[in-house]
Amino acid sequence: MDIENNVNMNESQSSDVATSKPARGKVEFEFEDEVDGAVESSNVEEDSAMCETEDTTVVAGDDKTSADYYFDSYSHFGIHEALHSMPDFLQSSVLIHASFSMQEMLKDVVRTKTYQNVIYKNSFLIKDKVVLDVGAGTGILSLFCAKAGAKHVYAVECSTMANMAQEIVKLNGFSDVITVLKGKIEEIELPVPHVDVIISEWMGYFLVYENMLNTVLYARDKWLVPDGLVLPDKASLYLTAIEDADYKEEKIEFWNNVYGFDMSCIRKQSIAEPLVDTVEQKQIVTNSQLLKTMDISKMGEVDTSFTAPFKLVAERDDYIHALVAYFDVSFTKCHKLMGFSTGPKSRATHWKQTVLYLEDVLSICQGEAVHGTMTVAPNKKNPRDVDITLKYSINGRHCQASRTQHYLMR
């Protein structure tokens, strides 16, 4: 149960600094440490499932800097799309943005090490198999597979990062095993009729925000042999409730008193913006409620809209300031169940959590519950954005409330 968590990649503490971000040089150093120290002792390996660890220390500082915004705006899979559709003369600047973003993702040790362990420690899944890597990026997952003895790996990447992946493959001597294909999955032709394994890292913030699951399912239906393997094959979205007086104070109520001035009119609008941020384990007040599970190897279409009921039961007397959504991903076909959680009880990932602040502060007693439903749907005006509607009510000894709140994730 003890988890090596000496270095926290995503956070750096610098208490007297208004906004701080680790200088790149420093992070790189820590990262190398991490690689050395964590090869055999990654948390994900030991907690093969998503066990909820006790001693995870998440340093949650408010260190969202301009640089974070810079990453956010090209965040995650958005960058692939951006790269693909940019005219050439703009691509060099996009490449820089993309590489920072990729760097952030690679530095997400939980994410990358889990994939690495799944592949290295379960080479029976990969050995002598034909593998398709959907959205290969730098090609890191393909390299893992090649090293684990794959017969051949097709790494498909639609952005200019494909050229880089090609070069990386060559540089590391895997040219005969890995074929990098540049293009969209939907348009590309594979030189083989079938693949045995599809591997992809498709998850977005809040699991569904700007994710790449459609593409994975398309590839699955087109090329995967019957009984073929999809890695990962299960993803679940959860909801929990947290005490968050400090941060709600800082992020939302901040506007009530800015250097002594009342700016509460901004508060109303900023509460409707879900906040992607890390939450500390000790803030959790209730159980976690499973909202939705996706079985990637079997599911038909991606449900872009869904409504799920929830019941969050308090584990102690406390206040609830926000509901928090996060997801787990698992690889159920491993020798031993493996996966990772992006929840507040696990080590921080670059997905962080998605925090939905409540208008009211709910005083909840142990055993009492917040009931409600969460509705998720693409925004009508901009389908890339996600509308989230939260209906909740509590009828407790110290608090009765019922409300509907709307959020827009963009």
Partner: protein, 632 residues
């Protein structure tokens, strides 16, 4: 080592001029030219002293005598009017400086030179050397050629060029669409922007030439534009008012509109405002300057340019200002600033004066400062204190400085205060830890250094805004440029400055292990700025706001300019070999750099050019090719 060229080494240049086609020969060929002289508007040849009456005869002369075929080059490079205009000024500049107008490459003959120019279409637009705003300033006073080089009107005929440009324009526009952040928040009011100068009136006009020259009906309106520009900078400032250019201007205005949408749209996301306000370095500096200088603020009339949430106006009101005009372009933010002022009982509500001391002094004025329609509410030269948080990345990127200066000249009382009143840019060199390459060398046991190289290569053309740890700074820190906000003119926002950087730590002379241990690789330059609220106006409590890597970090971070190749530096060089300066065997003891910052075509953006010279211990010099950085 093919990249090593001695670009400005005149001795070598002479040696290489094998075919001996030098300037003297060209000047000798004036014969046919003199015949045509006499009639009034004289068109001076680009290369020699010959004068002509018509552009066609001048260009004919250039083609025959100097192997310079203007039309051919124009066609080959798909130059629009505006680029031709710059080309002419570029050539004149270069000829006057006795340099060949090429890319720093030495050309042996006219012919080679011509061929070289014709290859230009292989170059990306951005690095065509004359494609620089500075060449919009006529090199010659009253250069008649600039008025007339398009007189054959062939800009109308070039369908090729036109389709090229509209395609490019479409690409630009698609880019802008991508960048749109918050369109719903910006009203259609900006659609009328093209009628009057917005923040950068002159930029707008330049833009319209660029995009408009090859579109609909250029010639008439363009002649207008030309004479304006030829009349000098002051005229340029006003050309935004001309309405003659119809559709082409409209397109340009749309681009700027999008730019402004993005600009003001981006700033209407609250997270950014929260981050700016909670940037304590920034907010505390302003707070101190406003609250702790009572003799300045007490009963003063204050104008806050670009007020955002209005926090600075609130401080000013708190400090006892008698009146605060909070000007904000974004409608959404202006509404919010109004609400906030109201919620804090600080909003000025018409005639009824309220009891409390601080009540009712803030008036939020929505609109861009340059086009305030209700400006008559604010009397010219009636403001005692002009306050603004106008600084952008790298001080000048997306900065509101020109708006501040505009407001200063129009509304500030003579002798009134500008807060802050000084701005200083600093430069230093950074080491390996500041470059991207180090991360990519070992990624989970794989070598991905090609990405790092690619990024650093690309970074050699794009400034990166990021935090540099002070431990990664390997040189001394020098002042790049200082601005006095109380007196500076808008044109001073564009500048060229020379700085000389030495190694940061002076190693003792008796250093045991010689040059090796004292060698540092300088991978690029880092820029930052400070703004001062000096004793001049803040008598009780002067304040300095610094974004230095040596201080607490701010939301501005620093701006990083990456060299194409790192330069070795050392203060103490023992075993110096006669190899290239800046390599491991012969580290530079100093790096001289010349940095120019000009406003780019893209609205609110800037271009930075960087020239480097490494100086060895024996005084030998090595120049690196100029680098252009575009922050967009």
């Amino acid at each position: 080592m093919s990249s090593i060229r001695h670009y400005s080494d005149s001795e070598e240049e002479e040696e290489e001029e094998v075919e001996d086609q030098n300037w003297d020969d060209w000047e000798a060929e004036e014969d046919d030219a003199t015949e045509e002289q006499g009639l009034n508007p004289q068109l001076l040849c680009l290369f020699c002293d010959s004068c002509y009456n018509s552009c066609s005869s001048l260009f004919k002369h250039c083609a025959s005598a100097h192997s310079f075929d203007f039309h051919e080059i124009k066609k080959a490079n798909k130059l629009d009017f505006y680029k031709c205009f710059k080309l002419i000024n570029y050539i004149r500049t270069q000829v006057a400086a006795d340099k060949r107008w090429d890319w720093g490459k030495i050309c042996c003959s006219d012919k080679e030179l011509k061929n070289h120019l014709l290859e230009a279409d292989k170059f990306e637009e951005s690095i065509i050397p004359w494609d620089d705003d500075r060449y919009l300033n006529p090199f010659l006073q009253d250069d008649a050629l600039l008025h007339r080089f398009d007189e054959d009107g062939d800009f109308e005929d070039e369908d090729d060029a036109m389709s090229f440009d509209s395609k490019e324009l479409a690409m630009h526009l698609s880019q802008f669409e991508r960048l749109k952040i918050d369109e719903e928040d910006i009203s259609s009011k900006y659609a009328s922007e093209h009628k009057s100068p917005c923040e950068n009136g002159e930029k707008e006009v330049k833009f319209s030439f660029d995009k408009g020259a090859n579109t609909a009906n250029p010639s008439e309106s363009l002649v207008n534009g030309v004479s304006d520009i030829a009349d000098g900078p002051s005229a340029i400032e006003n050309t935004g008012n001309r309405k003659g250019t119809v559709s082409c201007l409209k397109i340009a205005a749309d681009e700027i509109k999008n730019r402004n949408k993005n600009y003001f749209g981006a700033y209407s996301s609250f997270g950014i405002h929260r981050d700016m306000i909670s940037d304590k370095v920034r907010t505390d500096a302003y707070r101190q300057a406003l609250l702790e200088n009572p003799s300045l603020l007490k009963s003063a009339v204050v104008m806050d340019v670009g007020c955002g949430t209005g926090i600075l106006s609130l401080f000013a009101a708190q400090a006892g200002a008698s009146r605060v005009f909070a000007v904000e372009a974004s409608e959404k933010m202006a509404a919010i600033a109004t609400q906030i002022a109201k919620d804090n009982n600080l909003l000025h509500n018409g005639s009824s004066g309220e009891g409390s001391q601080h009540n009712g002094v803030i008036e939020v004025v929505q609109g861009m400062i340059e086009e305030l329609e209700n400006a008559d509410r604010i009397q010219p030269h009636s403001v005692d204190v002009l306050v603004s948080e106008w600084m952008g990345y790298c001080l000048l990127y997306e900065s509101m400085l020109s708006s501040v200066l505009f407001a200063r000249d129009r509304w500030l009382k003579p002798g009134g205060a500008v807060l802050p009143d000084t701005a200083t840019m600093f430069v230093a060199g950074f080491g390996r830890g500041g470059a991207s390459i180090s991360f990519w060398e070992n990624v989970y046991g794989f070598n991905m250094s090609c990405i790092g190289r690619e990024v650093d290569d690309n970074a050699a053309g794009i400034p990166i805004v990021d935090v540099i740890d002070s431990c990664n700074i390997v040189t001394t820190t020098e002042v790049l440029q200082s601005f006095d906000l109380a007196t500076m003119q808008p044109k001073q926002m564009e500048f060229t400055a020379d700085v000389e950087l030495g190694p940061k730590f002076d190693a003792p002379l008796h250093h045991p292990s010689g040059s090796k241990s004292t060698t540092n690789w300088c991978h690029g330059l880092v820029l930052w700025f400070e703004t001062g609220f000096t004793k001049r106006f803040c008598k009780e409590k002067p304040v300095n706001l610094s974004t230095s890597p040596y201080g607490p970090s701010t939301h501005w971070s620093q701006t990083i300019l990456t060299f194409r190749e790192p330069i070795a530096m050392a203060s103490n060089v023992n075993s110096e070999k006669l190899t290239l300066v800046g390599t491991n065997d012969c580290p530079a003891v100093r790096i001289q750099s010349r940095i120019s910052i000009v406003r780019a075509l893209q609205h609110r953006s800037i271009d930075i050019s960087l020239e480097l010279t490494g100086i060895g211990r024996d005084g030998r010099k090595r120049n690196w090719p100029v680098q252009i950085f575009n922050l967009n």
